[in-house]
Amino acid sequence: MLDLSREERLAAAFVELADTLVKDFDVIAFLHQLTEHCVDLLDVRAAGVVLALPDGPVVDVAASDENTRRLELAGVEWDEGPCHDCYRSGTSVAEKRVDDALAQVRWPQFAPRARQAGFTSVVAAPLQLRGQVIGALNLFRDQVHPLAPAGLRLGQALADTATIGILQQWAVHEHLSVIAQLQQALDSRIIIEQAKGALSNRRQIGVDEAFRLMRRHARNRRAPLTAVAMQVLDGTAERTLLDPGTGTGTETSTST
């Protein structure tokens, strides 16, 4: 990476942050990458990011170094600091010094801790897409001159790209569970059909009659039909269900 020009590193950062539809996606590692790109590409000393459920609690914190991560965690605990303000308001926090009287009023606990960590000012940009705010990115600085507007814009662009990536990943994850639901519905239907045939062969009865027996057995035992069907298939179901001339077949029939 060091051999690449800043332009190339910039392009690589955007590609990397957009590429979340991979197997084994790890959101913490991804957020950590975002902070590292910020430190690499922007005139900042450290970067931290908090990720929160939309309108919910903070779920993850990552930072470019361990010191900064602890600072972010403390901010979450105290409910104060630029990340907190930015996430709550959904708008960016312009560069603020952490070593003046205003900072002391704004963030009574966060400001002294940030100074201790060696920072002089901080900027924050929201992770948001179409009004949905899922966290905030903090940029920590130790320079006297303010962060150039271009740098701030780039920070926001990186945050935006990361947001799209994370939301995309969440959406896919949600759909994956729907697929699992569909697959389960289908599997259970197929297992029941197979069990009808298996029981029909075992008892030498028609498939409709086999289904009626399975249903009644499941209802009498308060067992799910799919579970009974699986037991029929692997031969572990009760004898009264499996074998002809035994109880289930001659029990008083209840309407189905």
């Binding site: 896919v172 697929i179 239907r189 059909e193």
Partner: protein, 228 residues
Amino acid sequence: MAAHLLALTSYRGAGMPLLPLTACTGLLGLDGLAFTLAPGGRGAELLQHSGLLSGALEDLQRVQGQGPTPEAAKQSAMVLIPDVAAVATDRWPGLPGPLTDLGIAAVFALPLRIGVITLGVLTGHRTTPGPPADGQLADSLALANALAGLLINLAARPGATGFLDVQIGDLYFAEVHQATGYLATELDVPPAQALIRLRSHAFTHGLPLLATARAVLHHQLHLENDRP
């Protein structure tokens, strides 16, 4: 077409509705449509269809384990075959001949997708060759989208695993699964192996899988255990 799409998109019932496949078949310039469920591109199950040949088309692909429907499911991509007779011989060896014998000249399989996720396939066919008209392909894609949305809505409901139990959502190949269970017990083999026996019998004798399954269930066909 728009009215059908709107009805599908706004459907909020709990079970699988009766789809307007017969009406859409005509509107799309086709002779049949088949709606196959294949979550994640696997385990394709025909749920509803229109036209006289759709069942046979899906049956044949099921016997052979190849064709436009399973390919669209697996690749999550459109498979457009405007002329079955012109398909390269190595694409689906042994499929174009029987398809032509059935009278099927063109097959268009569209994946039902939400983002990168495949939920099933919509397979249309025609008895005359030729590509779909531009508007008809666009309408077919819109129908595929509406069906994918319908599936997502049905599956995302709490307790949705029961939605296939309703009569209308019944599996076209239910008897194939029943015969599979029947044979598995008869031959004392796992269901997967019993299904292979069933398929290979259908394949060798040029029979539909469904007819083979019915013959087994009605004791008209006895498959012997082929192990020594």
